[in-house]
Structure formats: C-alpha cells, structure tokens
C-alpha cells in the first residue's frame, strides 16, 4: 500500500474535508422512518448512516428477565457487513457487545423506566455505513426513536466525540482522524440535568487537554440537541403549514 503523507490538518487549521476544529460534519436527521417499529429515526452525519428503531414497552420474553418495578431497556448496536471498508462478519463482535452496553447505559437515565414495570423496551441501532463516531451518532438518533415511540423521557440524550489530531483538539472526528489521531473522547449528554451519561476515552491526553476536549464535545452536543428538537417537530410543523393553505 502506498504511503499517503497527507497531513490531516493544514497550516491554516483546516481539516481534510474543509472543517474547522470545532465544526460538526454535515448532519441530516429524520424521525419516523419505519412503520413497523413503535418509534424510529435516521441520521446521516458525514458518511455515517445510522438507523434506530424502538419496539415497546411490551411484555418481556423470556419472563424471568422482567424487573418487578421498572421496564428493562435492551439495546443492540450492530454494524452491517457492508458498512466498513473490509467486510465485517455479521456476528456480534466484542466491540459491538461493549458498545451495546455503554449505549444502553447512556440512555437509561433519561427514560422513565419505572412507569412500566415488567416490560421491556427494545432498541436497535443499525449502522448502515460507518465513518467514525458511530456510537455517538447512534445515541443521538436512538433518543429520537424513543421519543418517536411516545416513551416519556426526562430529556433528549445527545452525543458527540472530541479528540486530538496532529496536536490539535478537534470536534467530531471521522474515521481517518480517529485512527491516525492521538486521542478520541466520545461523550453523551443530557442538557437539562447537566449530566454526562457516556464517557470513554482512548489515546493520550494531559488533564488540561482532557478538560478542553470535554468542553469542545459539549459545544457539539448543544448544536446536535437543537437539531434533534427540530427533527422531532418537523413532522408536525409541515402539516401545520399544509393545513393553513
């Protein structure tokens, strides 16, 4: 393989693809895209294409998994075999198992699980095309699928990663930046409670850099949060306009 000596960030601080250090990838979100699921949503963020669907709350099967005082959130994060450069086997990898767990844990605090004892809420996140930051985009779109299913929540959970590439702290790393960069910090956030519900990090950062990365990620989260709200309202706003004519 030929060695590509291309720098990821040029001398003016512009990243490959033209973004500044604190810019998100172009993002498009749609809510209510599948008609069988109780709730669904779809996100495109740069080259990421991720679909989330919710079934429930409904009776748990097998019965012994039922919790007496709350609903059980089950989450499956899965990547399609064709979603990455080298075909990925459809069997769940260890990474998918870990991500399913941390994603579930990032969304649980926002859901009023205690309202529906002995039921389960099943959340499916399918990554149709992956280019870095899929767990964050997955969380952002999953929160919308839950809202679309009419499941009551304290707040919308939103997620975004920040990291370090060629010595600079940047927001929303794509796959190349993540692989070649020095650190990646995925983070999920519930703005009303000022609560960070997912936090991971790999790479190397000093304490000061880490603090800056968190703040950068929170800025990205706030922008995505507004997009989430717009996407939820979009379905109803369009109808209101049509009706006025």
């Amino acid at each position: 393989m030929p060695k590509i000596e291309e720098k990821l960030i040029d001398k003016d601080g512009i990243r490959i693809g033209g973004r500044k250090f604190n810019e998100l990838r172009p993002t498009k979100i749609q809510v209510g895209v599948l008609n069988n699921a109780n709730g669904s949503a779809y996100i495109e963020q740069g080259k990421n294409k991720i679909l989330a669907a919710v079934y429930g709350p409904h009776e748990v099967h097998p019965k012994h998994l039922a919790l007496p005082d709350r609903s059980r959130l089950r989450c499956r994060y899965h990547m399609a075999p064709f979603s990455v450069d080298e075909r990925k086997s459809p069997a769940p990898s260890r990474r998918e198992v870990e991500l399913s767990k941390v994603i579930r844990e990032s969304l649980e605090p926002s859901i009023f699980l205690e309202y529906y004892p002995r039921t389960s809420i099943d959340l499916f996140i399918e990554v149709l095309q992956a280019n870095g930051g899929t767990r964050c985009a997955g969380i952002t779109v999953a929160a919308l699928a839950l809202a679309d299913a009419g499941i009551p929540m304290r707040d919308l959970t939103v997620a975004c990663a920040a990291g370090k590439v060629e010595g600079q702290l940047v927001l929303d790393l794509n796959d190349t930046e993540d692989k070649k960069g020095e650190a990646d910090v995925p983070l999920a956030y519930m703005p009303n409670l000022n609560a960070i519900t997912l936090l991971q990090m790999d790479g190397q950062l000093t304490l000061e850099e880490f603090e800056k990365a968190i703040n950068l990620s929170l800025e990205g989260c706030k922008q995505l949060y507004n997009m989430q709200k717009e996407a939820l309202k979009a379905k109803y706003v369009v109808l209101k306009e049509e009706v006025k004519e």
Binding site: N38, T119, P152, M153, K229, K233, Y236, L239
Partner: protein
C-alpha cells in the same frame, strides 16, 4: 412565575415549559421548581396545572375504560387479549360463564377464538399484574362486523370533539355506527363499504391534523365533498 410556551405550542421531551409553583400534569415532570415536557405534544394550561397533550403515546390501561382487544390465546381459565398496550389483558372464563363448572378448552374457543375482536371493559389493573377485563355489561362482547381502525390513543378525545361535536358530524354524514375504544382501536360499522370508508377517511384526517385548529369545519367540508363525488359517480 414564568411559562415559556403558549397554549397549543409544540414541545419536545426535555423542553422547559414553566418554572415556579405549578402542578405537573400529564406528560410533564417537575424537578427543582422547573416543569419539563416528557413527550412530544401540545402545551395546555389549566390554572396552575401544566400538561402536554401527547401527539404520540401508547395506551396505558385505566380501570373503567372501554377497549377493543384481539384474542391472542385461549387458556384453561379464559382468554388472553392484545389491547394495544405494554401489557396483555386477561378475560376470565368465569366472567362469561355463570355456572362454576370447569370448561373444556374447546368450549372456550367456541365463545371467543384466537383472532376474534372483543369489546370489553377494564375491571382491574395495578403495577403488579396484567389488566383484567369483563364483557358482562351491555354493548360488550365479540365484534362480528365492521372495520377496525388503529389510531394513537391520545387522539381519541379529538375524534370525539367538544361535547361530541366531531364524532357527531362523522356519524351524521356517513350514517355509520362508531365505537371508540380508549386504547386507540375504533370500530366502524355502516350500511355499506363506501360509508365505512368515508368514516375511516375522516378519522385518519383528524388523526393527522389533530394539532391544528378549524378541524371540525374542514372535516365536515371533506365529508360533504366526498359524498358529492360519490353521488356523481353513481349517477354517471
């Protein structure tokens, strides 16, 4: 004590609706004097009570509700029904049979079989058990004819309209008998298929435009126009 949204404004989960000495109504929750929406819906104020009329929610069984359910299983003691809720509902054999003998399973499926639609009332329900149904009252029992429509349960009140105005319009213009299950299932039975379809159209329209105003008039207009069209095709 500020409120941040006007009546019937659209909010999403986590939106701060009001702050101060308000009471948290439906689809809201209060934390530290701040009142937030928990679902996508329209804000409603009733004196100090702030609530959100959800545009999409699922049915939670309430004692006394009349619902339409589908039989999914026949057991030794009765029937299990899907009532479009997070929980399956139970109808005991003893509710239908007066005598206290032990019925054979065959006898039970001859009364209600898997796939049958039943109008029933919720007799009991709490957090520890599935809801229990009864078909003992008049008007309850197996559905033998008509069409079934499934809509978001929160829109049932909109279909009824203020003092029954909306549902009255539909019944009048289509001549159909309409039964609204609180769980979002609607039974329409009319003299013919066209009339029933008309009623379905009207209800779907209300469901899609429930968050707008002037709906009753628009529905009336639509029904009148459709009937004219039908009249023309018949005469052509």
């Amino acid at each position: 004590m500020p409120t941040f949204y006007e009546r019937r404004q659209l909010v999403t989960p986590g939106d701060l609706v009001a702050e101060g000495n308000y009471i948290a109504g439906e689809n809201t929750f209060k934390e530290n004097e701040k009142l937030y929406a928990t679902r996508v819906g329209l804000v409603e104020y009733e004196e100090r009570r702030v609530s959100v009329v959800a545009l999409k929610a699922f049915y939670i069984p309430t004692i006394g509700d009349t619902i339409i359910g589908k039989v999914t299983d026949v057991t030794m003691g009765g029937w299990i029904l899907d009532i479009n809720a997070p929980y399956l509902a139970l109808l005991r054999a003893s509710d239908v049979m007066e005598r206290s003998y032990r019925p054979q399973r065959d006898e039970l499926s001859s009364i209600f079989d898997v796939g049958d639609l039943v109008i029933a009332k919720i007799v009991s329900y709490d957090r520890t058990r599935d809801p229990l149904l009864t078909v003992r009252e008049p008007g309850l029992g197996k559905i033998t004819r008509g069409q079934i429509l499934e809509i978001t349960p929160t829109k049932i009140p909109r279909i009824i309209g203020r003092k029954g105005s909306m549902i009255g319009v539909i019944k009048r213009e289509t001549g159909c008998h309409i039964l609204l299950g609180q769980n979002g299932l609607v039974l329409i039975s009319g003299k013919n298929l066209e009339d029933e379809q008309l009623a379905v159209m009207a209800i779907r329209k209300i469901e899609n435009e429930s968050h707008t105003s002037g709906l009753t008039d628009r529905v009336t207009d639509m029904l009148k126009k459709e009937k004219e069209k039908e009249g023309e095709t018949k005469n052509a």
